[in-house]
């Protein structure tokens, strides 16, 4: 596309056009980044700086938001605080300057761990099931293939709340409500449709001749799948896995309706971080920042495959 022969082609945009387009896009990118940058800045503000008007761009960095995120505190009289020994660690020090003492760890870490376990568990299952089915649909003559594929996709069209009603009843009956296993199975069922569609696209692109050659050399079909197709599909499997991971990591509707404490993930928890007298914005911002950073990293890793992922493999570059 950008070979030397087309460099002076009539259809190449002029330098002025390019600069103009570039300026507008950069402007949009900057505006669109402001909310994200703002939340990250807020994470490092003291509560007073976070709610000052006009909003402060320059401020003295503070770790109070992170401290409040990870701890629970209780208010004490100055006399009581003075009677205690020296503060234990930075967070205790900050808390004492506000006439409080650290009472214990908050629920953020357990919720974050739940998010990790549920996201990884459901991703592994969805990708494993998805890879097998995708290979089946890609290579074998399956009766009603198109109908089955459409059925797999259509499960994605249901509004999550509509699915949540019977799942709630079902899990209550079989004892899966508010368990990690229940959430893993639910997210697997949502992700497996994406995994089948994406991976079918990736496996379709691997020439059949490779397996056929391997099978002539004496491999069974299954050996050919494991030793020839899987290594070829590694990139596709990795990209699919990251998409499943992001979905499970970000999911809120099922999590808020079907979990309460035990298996609650981070998205329903972050909005209910409250301090004294309303939301503790630096703590919320700190929780949000820690939660978003992995996604930012994954997005950069995934940028070549994003298009495929968001269109269920319908559009390939």
């Amino acid at each position: 596309m950008t070979s030397a022969t087309t460099a002076h082609s009539v259809v190449e945009p002029s330098t002025t056009t390019r600069r103009f387009a570039g300026t507008l896009v950069v402007l949009y990118a900057i505006i669109t980044m402001i909310p994200l940058v703002w939340i990250m800045l807020t994470a490092f503000k003291s509560p007073d700086d976070a709610i000052s008007y006009p909003p402060k761009v320059m401020f003295k960095p503070s770790l109070e938001g992170f401290c409040n995120l990870f701890t629970t505190r209780s208010r004490q009289t100055p006399e009581f605080i003075r009677s205690l020994g020296p503060p234990q660690g930075l967070c205790d020090d900050i808390a004492r300057s506000r006439n409080m003492v650290v009472a214990g760890p908050s629920n953020y870490v357990p919720r974050f761990v739940n998010s990790l376990i549920i996201a990884f568990g459901s991703t592994v299952l969805a990708v494993a099931l998805g890879t097998l089915s995708a290979y089946g649909f890609s290579r074998f003559r399956v009766p009603l293939k198109d109908d089955l594929l459409f059925f797999i996709l259509s499960t994605r069209m249901m509004p999550p709340i509509a699915v949540a009603i019977p799942i709630y009843l079902m899990y209550r009956t079989i004892g899966l409500s508010d368990t990690r296993l229940g959430m893993i199975l639910l997210y697997t069922s949502v992700n497996v449709s994406l995994a089948v569609w994406l991976l079918k696209g990736f496996i379709d692109e691997i020439p059949r001749e490779y397996e056929e050659a391997a099978m002539i050399d004496g491999y069974t079909r299954f050996q050919a799948f494991v030793k020839v197709v899987l290594p070829q599909a590694t990139t596709g499997i990795a990209a699919t896995a990251i998409f499943c991971l992001i979905f499970a990591w970000n999911e809120y509707a099922f999590a808020v309706l079907l979990t309460s404490g035990n298996a609650q993930t981070a998205p329903p928890f972050i909005p209910i971080i409250i301090g004294e007298g309303g939301q503790d914005w630096p703590a919320v911002a700190a929780g949000t920042t820690l939660f978003l950073v992995p996604i930012v990293v994954f997005t950069v890793l995934l940028r070549k495959h994003l298009l495929r992922g968001i269109t269920f493999g319908a559009v390939r570059k």
Binding site: G22, T155, Y168, M170, N250
Partner: protein, 319 residues
């Protein structure tokens, strides 16, 4: 002669024997393997999607309430469906949903296509800036909704400050989330911020799929840039734009998480999109039968609209 027939007999035998032996050596037949590979996925979807769907259909015909499991279940027939379709509150929720879906899709399509058009000019560093623009759509809608409530705070929020800075109004003179006329737009703004990149990415693929020689031919024919845009760029990118509209339309029709955290449906019920009405009926009033019927109606609506749209899309594609 004899030798030949003997050898042919051997070949014949080998051919006869091979499938059976091969099956034993090669393990499972393709047919068995196909079903072994596909069945687990189908079983999982049947257990966690289809069985619940059938259960929802059953419940939608009964008076069942999840918080009163001991009350005997009575078959009501299509009563719930009738009362939902004649309920003004439901139609109000549908109107709120329609406002949300139509405006977000229009804004996202216009902005997204515009951005894609600009990025397609391949200025220096366009790859990096594209990745930056894509970030919002990868984030958790719930967490995004939650932190936008901070930006929308009338006294301290950045959004109000910026608007006040450019319009000269006092920052505390308007409440994006507390005002009945502004709140429907507050959710549109956040959704557009988040999902414009999605439309942009699909449109960009569309623009890049148009081969250069078509433009070259148009140049030879001295077609103006304006004419080229309307006669080449737009029609050829149209299937992609429609695909983006389809995906955004379905997603926003189901919208729950972002709106639930931004406004929770309020003030009053001005931002109560269908999913929030459903959640209130199902998990706050515990009207399980009623909400099951509403869930089925929503599902059928999405499914029907999507099917009609896909037909139109295929027509455009085959043109």
């Amino acid at each position: 002669m004899n030798e030949l027939s003997a050898s042919s007999r051997i070949t014949y035998r080998a051919v006869m024997v091979r499938p059976g032996v091969a099956r034993r050596i090669r393990g499972l037949s393709d047919r068995t393997l196909a079903w072994l590979f596909i069945t687990p996925t189908i079983v999982l979807l049947l257990a966690i999607n289809i069985f619940p769907l059938l259960w929802t259909i059953y419940l939608s015909f009964t008076n069942y309430r999840a918080n009163r499991a001991n009350v005997p279940t009575i078959w009501l027939g299509a009563d719930w469906y009738q009362s939902i379709l004649t309920d003004p509150d439901i139609w109000a929720a549908m109107q709120v949903t329609a406002h949300f879906v139509i405006w977000t899709v229009v804004i996202e399509t216009v902005l997204g296509f515009g951005l894609a058009y600009l990025i397609d000019k391949k200025f220096r560093g366009h790859g990096m800036w594209t990745t930056i623009i894509l970030l919002p759509m990868m984030l958790s809608p719930a967490v995004v909704g939650n932190f936008w409530t901070f930006l929308y705070q009338p006294q301290i929020g950045l959004f109000n400050y910026v608007v006040a800075f450019f319009t000269g109004r006092a920052a505390s003179s308007f409440q994006m989330l507390g005002d009945v006329t502004l709140s429907p737009w507050a959710i549109v703004i956040v959704d557009a911020w988040m999902w414009t990149p999605y439309v942009m990415l699909i449109c960009l693929a569309g623009l890049r799929s148009i081969p250069d020689y078509i433009y070259e031919a148009a140049e030879v024919d001295r077609a103006s840039k304006w004419r080229q845009f309307w006669s080449i760029t737009l029609p050829m990118a149209l299937p992609f734009i429609m695909l983006a509209v389809l995906f955004r339309g379905i997603e926003n029709f189901k919208m729950f998480d972002m709106v639930n955290l931004l406004t929770g449906g309020g003030p009053g019920s001005t931002t109560e999109v269908a999913s929030i009405t459903l959640k209130r009926a199902a998990f706050e009033s515990w009207r399980t039968g009623y909400s099951s019927a509403f869930a089925i109606i929503l599902f059928v609506t999405v499914f029907g609209l999507a099917n009609i749209y896909v037909k139109a899309l295929n027509k455009v594609k085959s043109r």
